[in-house]
């Protein structure tokens, strides 16, 4: 399982319908739409401040991983 690809896909999926929500990370206030775009583009700051922690949580919290997989319509394999 490629956790980084999974995290980016999950962010993009969650953002659907709430693109205008905002997140404050890396000393920047950005919309969810911008977050998804920057995560996909591999923006260094977003990677360090948000994508890496997202990947870490996917790897270390099985319940969280299952919930994210369910959102994406995938199974845990």
């Amino acid at each position: 399982m490629n956790f980084r690809k999974l995290a980016v896909a999950a962010i993009k999926e969650e953002v659907k319908g709430k693109e205008d929500n905002k997140i404050f990370i890396c000393n920047r206030l950005m919309t969810y739409a911008e977050l998804a775009q920057l995560a996909e583009q591999g923006d260094e700051e977003v990677k360090k401040c948000f994508l890496d922690p997202y990947v870490k949580k996917l790897k270390t919290v099985p319940e969280f991983r299952l919930q994210v997989l369910a959102m994406l319509g995938l199974s845990n394999s």
Partner: protein, 219 residues
């Protein structure tokens, strides 16, 4: 005898001042400076005779910002601080908080960036305000810290249970970034290689190498 400082000078600070406003009712003998750019001089003046300094908003490794350009508190004015400092400022526990603790004071802050999302503002406010809420109810710093870590973990789980995975990751980040430095919680991280070795060898006493060295010489 508390000083609460909550500057407003950008988009982010307009969110956090709401959280700061909601702790005012918990505190007695409170002096408040908020809602605008704040200068170092007025903070230093207002700190006289205070027992607790609460600061909401931007910080970095070396201090707390009252505006885009000025740190109202950093390692050069630690002597003006009261015995305890409580802040939600990003990164402040990295260097500044350690310096505050090494001066014999209690420091509550964040080792990494404090994040929040606008779809879950009540949860992030609850987490940011948890420590000072518990302290105002008579809990010790240590008890407040342990309870706030538990709260952060519970909130992160609740957010993911309700499908807010982005907010959940941000909450988990905040929880793992929260630090309390007091008599029972010494800082464990350092940027300095020699200090890292000293901490590995001597534990918390590694922060007082000069004192250890003097004692060894006297012995």
């Amino acid at each position: 005898m508390t000083l609460l400082v909550a500057p407003v000078f950008d988009n982010v600070t307009t969110y956090c001042i709401v959280w700061a406003d909601n702790i005012k009712s918990l505190l007695t003998n409170l002096t408040v400076i908020e809602g605008r750019k704040v200068t170092r001089a007025e903070v230093e003046d207002a700190l006289v005779d205070k027992k607790l300094f609460i600061f909401y908003d931007h910080g970095n490794e070396t201090g707390l910002f009252g505006s885009n350009t000025e740190q109202v508190a950093n390692s050069n004015n630690i002597d003006k601080l009261p015995l305890s400092v409580y802040t939600m400022a990003c990164l402040s526990a990295k260097i500044y908080g350690v310096d505050v603790w090494r001066s014999g004071r209690v420091f509550w802050g964040y080792y990494d960036v404090f994040s929040f999302t606008t779809d879950s503002l009540p949860e992030f406010e609850q987490f940011a305000n948890s420590g000072i809420t518990l302290i105002s109810q008579g809990k010790s710093w240590s008890e407040a810290y342990d309870s706030t870590i538990s709260l952060g973990n519970d909130l992160a789980k609740g957010l993911s249970d309700s499908g807010k995975y982005i907010a959940s990751v941000a909450m988990s980040n905040n929880t793992s970034a929260l630090r309390l430095y007091d008599s029972t919680h010494a800082p464990k991280e350092t940027q300095c290689t020699f200090r890292r070795i000293a901490l590995a060898l001597f534990g918390a006493k590694g922060w007082n190498l000069r004192r250890l060295g003097k004692r060894a010489t006297l012995d």
